[in-house]
């Protein structure tokens, strides 16, 4: 396996639309393994998309099972031709990107999504996801459409104040 080179903005290839995967051959399997190795080589990346290494195909990997505070997740997922079929709710969250080092910003994403995709062999997959995992999917899916999170960053000053828990202050207090 090989750690691939991550394209950095403003590389034009990051702005391209990626094509559907139609052939699920050995070459694809090898690429997926390389993509995963590249993700793990990056600094704490929970996801990666094929165009980030210059391959303009609809392949993403997401794994949010290793966050500091555990979040609901489906573990390690290779998603081919992923498509969000339903969105619900929205929430602000901070994002960064392997392709844009040393910058993070706030982005609004749907909190709940339904997702259709194929696995690495072309078998159909369906998921319902929430929160951080749903955010990761939306971030990676954007890459497939030539979008970067910096295209969606909103002013910190006009941040929306979304509180999920309507409890004042110290939740430690019982």
């Amino acid at each position: 396996m090989t750690v691939l080179e991550i394209l950095k903005a403003p590389d034009e290839r990051l702005k391209q639309f990626s094509e559907e995967v139609e052939i699920f051959d050995d070459e694809l399997q090898g690429f997926i393994d390389d993509l995963e190795e590249t993700r793990q080589a990056g600094p704490g990346a929970v996801g990666i998309a094929a165009p980030q290494v210059g391959r303009l195909q609809r392949v993403i990997i997401v794994d949010v099972s290793n966050t500091k505070k555990p979040v609901p997740n489906h573990g390690y997922m290779v998603l081919i031709n992923p498509e969000i079929t339903e969105w619900n709710g929205f929430e602000m969250g901070r994002e960064g990107c392997l392709s844009i080092p040393d910058y993070t910003g706030n982005v609004i994403r749907a909190t709940d999504i339904k997702l259709k995709a194929q696995d690495r062999f072309g078998n159909p997959l369906e998921y319902e996801m929430e929160g951080f995992e749903a955010r990761a999917i939306q971030h990676e899916l954007d890459h497939l459409d030539g979008m970067l999170f910096i295209d969606r960053v909103v002013s910190r000053r006009t941040d929306l104040f979304q509180r999920k828990v309507y409890k004042k202050g110290a939740s430690a207090k019982k």
């Binding site: 990056g42 600094p43 704490g44 990346a45 929970v46 996801g47 990666i48 998309a49 997401v62 966050t67 500091k68 505070k69 979040v71 969250g93 901070r94 994002e95 960064g96 990107c97 392997l98 040393d102 910058y103 993070t104 951080f132 955010r135 990761a136 971030h139 990676e140 999170f149 910190r156 000053r157 941040d159 104040f161 509180r163 004042k168 202050g169 110290a170 939740s171 430690a172 207090k173």
Partner: protein, 170 residues
């Protein structure tokens, strides 16, 4: 190049301040770094890192004078590409009253929070002002410690929310 200066420019807000200031800097060979530019209470405020050779005052003083801005220049240490990613977010909302900022930030500082960014506003009306503050910061201690640190203030009726930020890298 590590010859950074921090410019502070403050004056009554009007259209064109950013364009005029940055054009003067550009025409005279200055590079821009990180910046914060905000309208505060009808004033326009600029904090701006610039790097270049020599003194920047001769370039900017005429522009500042023309636009009614006060200029202040500090040589600074530091550089680009040294961001700290915040892992703590604090929100304070409430009826405006003296001492909120000092009390909240005092407790948080003691508990180990380093503030990276703070913005605050007074919303509402002159009769019933509402104080709103947002802080992004970094702490090595668990978020619960910070929540505990402000819990007395919460009991006193100040609406403080401390939450962790998990930054998604993808």
């Amino acid at each position: 190049m590590n010859n950074w200066k921090m410019l502070t420019l403050v004056g009554k807000d009007r259209p064109g301040i950013v364009a005029r200031v940055t054009d003067a800097l550009y025409q005279n060979g200055w590079n821009l770094g990180e910046a914060s530019m905000l309208r505060l209470g009808g004033n326009f405020t600029i904090m701006l890192m610039v790097s270049g050779a020599g003194e920047v005052e001769p370039t900017l003083q005429p522009v500042a004078q023309e636009l009614g801005l006060r200029l202040h220049v500090d040589p600074i240490e530091g550089d680009l590409h040294s961001h700290v990613v915040p892992n703590i977010q604090v929100r304070v909302v409430g009826a405006d009253r003296a001492g909120i900022v000092a009390q909240v930030t005092g407790q948080l500082a003691e508990a180990g929070l380093n503030i990276l960014e703070l913005e605050s506003d007074v919303a509402g009306s002159a009769e019933t002002p509402i104080y709103i503050m947002g802080i992004h910061g970094y702490a090595d201690v668990p978020v619960e410690d910070l929540q505990q640190a402000v819990s007395d203030l919460v009991d006193q009726g100040i609406d403080v929310t401390v939450s962790g930020i998990e930054t998604l890298i993808g």
